[in-house]
Subunit: 403 residues, 2 copies
């Protein structure tokens, strides 16, 4: 018998991320790609990292930088993060923070922490496909999370029970979400908190894009709103996942979780068993760079992406035919485009690549049930204004021709 016949049942739900497979295909020369959704590498603070790695490897700290360290994460970095969290009205201790290998790892651990097979995870429709990928091995049922309170907690609970488990958490990215770019307003966030309260479940707040706001007033984070209500982080059910991937560098794989201490303690045990700790030297380098240039660097990133977003929205306005609509994100990296109901984003991609050499991600994979096909995700983070103008013009042409 071949080894793969001995794989556990959970592996049946592990599939190649369509995006990641697609990216290998799309990042070809000659293609104008809005598919990526990764940071512009020209914006990485490489000089600051060069200094920071050299500093970590200086005689005074090299034996720390290269050695095993604690599963909780590098203490000075957790202190810096605690300071940042205080700035967004979530004062906390380093003991409320776990450093993870990107916020992707936090999603995996949270799936492992909460989900038994047949438990329900409430997610957006669409939602971040990497979250679906992280949760899938724990064999949940997905329920549709709405942020306008139009489905009662009783209803959700009854459905989850019928599906063989209970609602364990609501997962959402409230700021400039991947894939839609949309932001949930304060009323919507309060409504998610009320739903979670009624369901007695956790809220996983994916804040990966939160720092990338280009205009409009910041909305308090879900964790900040809950903390304001309850006055004690230890009483909060929201678990906040942050990341340096969209601000400083994704290649270093450093993110963090903020939550009540019993949750963090359990995640620390999980990390200890799963990979001991995130790379020591990377945590030190991120800490040094964050301490010295975080705010100014993020402002630079915002300026560049904001211009690209403006350019993409203007180009869409100019080139999209009647019947096509799109989101107007106040931050992040994405615009979500909705085609007429009869059209299919994946079929459009084939034609767009073929006739116009322009690429994007078809929307279907962002739906837990793959039920909606007439949408697509456009990323503006890595494209110059010229590429955007020309690419969107060509995209408009192929949509028009296919309608």
């Amino acid at each position: 018998m071949a080894l793969q016949q001995m794989f556990a049942g959970r592996t049946e739900r592990m599939k190649a991320s369509e995006i990641r497979e697609l990216l290998k295909l799309l990042d070809q020369p000659g293609i104008t790609s809005f598919a990526g959704g990764i940071p512009d590498p020209d914006l990485f603070p490489a000089d600051a990292f060069t200094d920071a790695f050299a500093q970590a490897l200086s005689p005074k700290t090299q034996s720390v930088a290269l050695q095993y360290s604690v599963s909780e994460g590098y203490l000075p970095l957790r202190k810096w993060i605690a300071g940042q969290m205080a700035k967004i009205d979530v004062p906390c201790d380093p003991e409320n923070i776990l450093i993870t290998s990107g916020s992707q790892q936090a999603l995996d651990y949270l799936g492992k922490l909460f989900l038994s097979p047949q438990d329900t995870a409430l997610v957006g429709w669409p939602t971040y496909m990497g979250a679906l990928g992280a949760f899938n091995p724990y064999e949940p049922v997905y329920g549709q999370l709405s942020v306008n309170g139009n489905r009662s907690a009783e209803d959700h609970a009854a459905q989850a029970k019928a599906d063989g488990g209970r609602v364990k958490f609501a997962y959402l990215s409230a700021d400039f979400a991947n894939p839609t770019g949309e932001t949930v307003d304060q009323r919507g966030r309060e409504s998610v908190l009320e739903l979670a309260e009624a369901l007695d479940c956790a809220v996983i707040e994916d804040a990966a894009y939160q720092a990338l706001r280009y205009d409009g007033d910041p909305v308090p984070s879900i964790l900040a709103l809950e903390l304001a209500r309850k006055g004690d982080l230890e009483a909060c059910r929201t678990i906040y996942c942050g990341s340096f991937s969209k601000t400083l560098s994704p290649g270093l794989r450093v993110g963090w979780v903020v939550a009540a201490k019993p949750v963090i303690s359990q995640l620390v045990l999980m990390k200890q068993a799963a990979d001991l700790h995130s790379a020591t030297i990377n945590q030190m380098a991120i800490c040094t760079v964050a301490e010295s240039i975080f705010d100014s660097h993020v402002q630079t990133v915002r300026n560049v992406y904001s211009e690209r977003r403006d350019c993409m929205l203007a180009a869409l306005e100019m080139h999209m035919p009647e019947g096509v609509s799109w989101t107007k994100p106040q931050g992040g990296m994405f615009v979500w485009l909705t085609l007429p109901a009869h059209m299919d984003g994946a079929e459009l991609l084939d034609v767009a690549l073929d006739t116009e050499k322009v690429a994007f991600v078809p929307g279907k994979a962002f739906f837990a049930d793959g039920s909606v096909a007439n949408s697509l995700r456009l990323s503006f983070s890595c494209a110059s204004p010229e590429m955007i103008q020309d690419g969107i013009r060509r995209l408009g042409r192929v949509i028009r021709a296919t309608m």
Copy 2:
């Protein structure tokens, strides 16, 4: 209801590693500690890493070093590893290799890949407690793996069936294992392969210490033996887990898995969902350092540890009372000491710390069922010859006094 009441059942088996909690306690000034089991930080090739990180961050490659990368791992590093594997008679392609965040992560992924609740994992008695920690969340039953063929496959299979699952793998570290320091001879390795063949299960070969041989002839790896029998890596059931933690640096968290391609493909999907990829820059730095100094550096490490091992064995010979026995490792970092049957390693530790300020790890936690208490693990990797002579003398005194 508190959030922790919503944790999945699997979390009940996640406990703090006794070693890691102990280490926080034992690494105090004034204590002579043989507890650690970590590499000597004075041996880290810090200068080589300084150059390698600077090189990775040079203008030519900085945008690669700091960016997202593929889940499989950095190709030049996989090529270098393929070259090393060929030297130990396991020629393979980069597609047979996945880069993991330390071999600890490989153990977590392999537990996730194979184990459904109630499946059986065969492990040594004692075994590496970090493997038990990695497998525990997947809720296996542990069976006792013997390397002398004294329990039949039928017997193992019947027991596993009675326990509600089947035997999914045999896990072992065949070279200078943590905690015993012992090596499984070629006959023992063949016997494990035969058992796995009869049980139609996988073999997980943890090769974390394999490069640290100080004397005696190398024994072919289990994977090499299986490959020699079958002639085709794709037909092999052995999954080899390597690590740079004991040779170059543990803090960078870089290890690897070598296996048949369908196994690697599934592990790649798992890694994609769990943390996307191991840190890009660390893989680049490890690759540069490995390419330039791996062999000479490992020889340096061997020379130092070998002297410490000699020193510890001589001191044990001199100071241990009648009735105490210990292993004579040909490599690695550990000596395993067996006390008279009525003694308890944990109780001895209390007295040893109190009266002699000497520390070690009690053996109980290395047994899946915690059934054996009269043993302890001594590590010589971080102790100078003077510390070893003095510490073992004091350990002998406290054992004598407690007998």
